[in-house]
């Protein structure tokens, strides 16, 4: 249908077009070249366990989320001589993969990496090591003495093959939150074993229907209950290897406990952040197993529970289990870039932000991973007068996080939310969905390149 009517004018245009086409090809070739030369390589020195870029003066680029903005600003205030470029981003919230996306692009262009990054996810090491982004920290950059002062196991999610690639900002160990006046009013004792916990749950259902001993409706529910129960659903055994077994006794007995209480309606399946919970169940909380940050983020801020009401106790244990264990829900991490041209300043910042009591002890919203800072932080919480008990249960729990549950590249929370949660809404039992859960974990792990065993 095109009209063929060649004229001298057209000849010239097509000649020009050919030239333009050639130019494009050249540009494309140039792009391809840039794409292949992924960063660094020239002029690096091997030191502290990695090839370091030539060091230069200049501003230190720090990426933080809105909450950690205060930390960076405080550092600037206390260290006016340091040139800081503070960039705020979403902190990789909800697995936004922002950091990973940008690092992939920077790896292609060979520049642009931030020097220090905060991430609200604790599984960043699972890709940041492969991507050549995270610098090893225990090979010279950060003294062993400093690293030793973190709570036991705090930096496990950051450790790949014995090398530490990030530092934990805060811990999210699970404890048993409780409503002290209500417990007293009902005349109940705090359960110390899961058996007692279940019995109490059934009793509450009978004596005070509507009141709750827990919630199982959040995406991180498995990390509170099944992790604490030592369920082998997520045992990272190597850099790219995981063992998944959801049918072990540790899994089934906890799932059964939850099913019983859910049937009794003393365990909610709404999720503590849902509007349903806020509207209908906020004042019905008697007990609530949950991570360290529940105290502030859930009770104080979201549910607006009055002061002197909420206390924290150790999470129940299975009867006869000699090694107490608990789960963990999140907790941010700080990473340092291998490509940094200001390693000294970057290391200074990293060390300060994770260990200095000026921030971690006094300002940080979450339970500090660094043990001495945590002491100071707990004192501050006690002094605030909000809680009905001291928070020493948090400190005890901080070193009891079971190490058989790892931080893979795939999101356990997303898998649970998409696989198990819809079934719970339809009234299926958790026990009946354990096989489907396992199948889903295996599929996601395999598609992320993990070798899966069971």
């Amino acid at each position: 249908m095109t009209v063929k009517n060649p004229s001298s004018g057209r000849e010239r245009t097509s000649g020009k077009r050919r030239a333009a086409l050639l130019a494009c090809c050249a540009a494309a070739a140039a792009l391809t070249l840039t794409a292949c030369s992924s960063g660094g390589g020239t002029g690096t020195t091997a030191k502290d366990g990695f090839a370091q870029a030539p060091q230069k003066d200049g501003a230190l680029t720090v990426w933080v989320d809105a909450t950690r903005m205060d930390a960076a600003k405080l550092y600037q205030q206390l260290h006016p001589e340091v040139k800081l470029d503070i960039v705020s981003y979403d902190g990789d919230a909800n697995g936004s993969n922002y950091l990973q996306t940008k690092v992939q692009l920077f790896n292609r262009t060979g520049k642009g990496w931030p020097d220090v990054v905060f991430s609200s996810q604790n599984n960043e090491a699972s890709w940041a090591v492969d991507a050549g982004f995270a610098a090893p920290l225990n090979k010279g950059l950060v003294p062993a003495d400093t690293l030793g002062k973190f709570a036991e196991g705090a930096n496990n999610p950051c450790t790949v093959d014995g090398t530490v690639y990030c530092l934990r900002n805060d811990l999210s160990q699970a404890v048993l939150w409780y409503n002290a006046p209500l417990m007293k009013q009902f005349g109940y004792q705090l359960p110390t074993t899961w058996e007692e916990y279940q019995a109490l749950g059934e009793k509450v259902a009978a004596e005070h229907p509507g009141y709750l001993v827990g919630d199982a409706g959040d995406s991180y529910t498995p990390e509170i209950y099944l992790w604490a129960s030592k369920c082998g659903a997520n045992h990272i055994t190597g850099p790219k290897a995981v063992s998944v077994n959801t049918s072990g006794e540790a899994c089934t007995k906890m799932a059964k406990l939850m099913d019983t209480l859910i049937t009794d309606k003393s365990m909610s399946i709404s999720g503590v952040f849902s509007t349903d919970f806020a509207k209908n169940q906020a004042d019905k909380v008697l007990l609530m197993p949950g991570p360290a940050w529940y105290g502030g983020a859930v009770f104080k801020d979201t549910l607006k529970t009055p002061a002197k009401t909420i206390g924290a106790a150790p999470l129940p244990q299975w009867k006869g289990d000699s090694s107490p264990s608990t789960g963990n829900v999140g907790g941010g991490t700080w990473l340092l870039s291998q490509h940094s041209e200001h390693l000294k300043a970057a290391t200074d910042f990293l060390t300060w932000v994770t260990t200095d009591t000026a921030y971690q002890g006094e300002k940080a919203p979450g339970f500090p991973a660094h043990a001495p800072s945590a002491e100071a932080w707990l004192k501050g919480q006690d002094a605030s007068g909000y809680f009905a008990s001291d928070l020493s249960a948090l400190k005890t729990a901080s070193s009891q996080v079971w190490n058989g549950w790892g931080s893979g590249q795939y999101s356990q929370e997303a898998i649970w939310a998409a696989t198990v949660k819809p079934g719970m809404t339809q009234g299926k039992t958790i026990v009946s969905m354990l096989p489907a859960w396992q199948e889903a974990i295996v599929k996601y792990a395999e598609s992320d390149g993990y070798k899966v065993s069971s």
């Binding site: 249908m1 095109t2 009209v3 057209r10 245009t13 097509s14 077009r17 540009a27 140039a30 792009l31 840039t34 794409a35 989320d65 809105a66 909450t67 903005m69 470029d85 503070i86 960039v87 705020s88 981003y89 979403d90 902190g91 919230a93 909800n94 936004s96 922002y98 996306t101 940008k102 992939q104 692009l105 292609r108 262009t109 642009g112 609200s120 805060d170 999210s172 959040d218 995406s219 991180y220 503590v272 952040f273 849902s274 509007t275 806020a278 509207k279 940050w293 502030g296 983020a297 859930v298 801020d301 979201t302 607006k304 829900v329 999140g330 919203p365 979450g366």
Partner: protein, 295 residues
């Protein structure tokens, strides 16, 4: 007699049906927006416990405004400014580039016209996810990463507008009109400037409006391209706010932003679009061609 008696009844029922249908759709489109408007006047507690369609209080609205503007030292205003800057500059480039292109594709014959139409359509249909990496590398190669041009230039490429113009001219402007002008000795440029362009007011308004909205609401490109947080446009800003609301991101840890504040930010984000719409709508109503066309 029977027929003529039934007729008004039928017309009445048909009118009623039309009225009901339009009203139903009106509720569908407007109710969520109304809810959003009211949400900004409530406290977080009221949002959950109160009647969904009740007014909160001006006091709460004021508090929300205060809390929102104090987020990262008035970052919201900065985001709005950035959005306006990016959207307006790329809108200008889009109009200068797309209108003549759409006109030429519709009203003139040149070699490669069909190729151009096909190429435009094909790139318009390409999923975005994989284009980001090439775009980033390309802009890096010409050293534009980090500047506002890294998003303005990709925004300015607006194939959708080229097609709108193209279809407008092929369907609404008779070719004879231009042919007559050409025979009268007008140069191609004068034909375009003095005859085609005045006839194209509705489509210019349409392209301008859609381009502005597309630029204003784009999230992913600035999210990936821009390295500094003070370069972010409002859409990315709203995303940041969202990730600071505990119900959308349980792990955020401390309550920085409450849902009514997010609602308020959303309202701020859409207001410019609605103003531009009202402005553009004045030109969209045309009918100016009705007389000129004789076919």
């Amino acid at each position: 007699m029977n027929r003529s008696a039934r007729r008004p009844v039928r017309r009445l029922t048909s009118r009623l049906l039309v009225g009901v249908a339009l009203a139903a759709f009106l509720v569908f489109f407007v109710l969520p927006v109304l809810w959003l408007l009211l949400a900004a006047t409530k406290t977080d507690q009221q949002l959950v416990h109160g009647n969904p369609l009740s007014f909160g209080s001006f006091r709460a609205l004021g508090d929300n405004w205060h809390a929102l503007t104090s987020f990262q030292d008035d970052a919201v205003m900065l985001w709005l400014r950035n959005s306006a800057l990016y959207s307006v500059i790329s809108l200008a480039i889009t109009l200068v580039v797309a209108i003549p292109a759409g006109y030429a594709l519709a009203m003139t014959e040149f070699r490669g016209r069909r190729t151009l139409l096909i190429a435009t359509l094909v790139v318009m249909l390409m999923p975005n996810a994989t284009l980001v990496v090439p775009l980033f590398l390309e802009l890096n190669a010409v050293r534009l990463i980090g500047t506002m041009w890294s998003i303005i230039l990709p925004y300015a490429f607006y194939p959708f507008g080229v097609y709108l113009t193209y279809i407008y001219f092929t369907t609404a402007v008779p070719k004879d009109l231009l042919a007559a002008a050409r025979i009268d000795g007008c140069s191609e440029f004068r034909v375009f400037w003095h005859i085609a362009l005045p006839l194209a007011t509705p489509v210019i308004a349409l392209v301008g409006f859609f381009s502005f909205v597309a630029n204003w609401t784009n999230y992913f490109l600035p999210y990936v391209m821009l390295p500094e947080s003070d370069q972010m446009p409002i859409q990315v800003g709203v995303g940041t706010l969202l990730s600071n609301v505990p119900s959308f991101n349980p792990a955020v840890g401390s309550l920085a932003i409450e849902r009514p504040q997010l609602a308020l930010a959303t309202l701020l984000a859409i207001t410019p679009v609605l103003i531009v719409f009202l402005f553009a709508q004045r030109f969209l109503v045309s009918g100016m061609l009705a007389g000129a066309t004789k076919e």
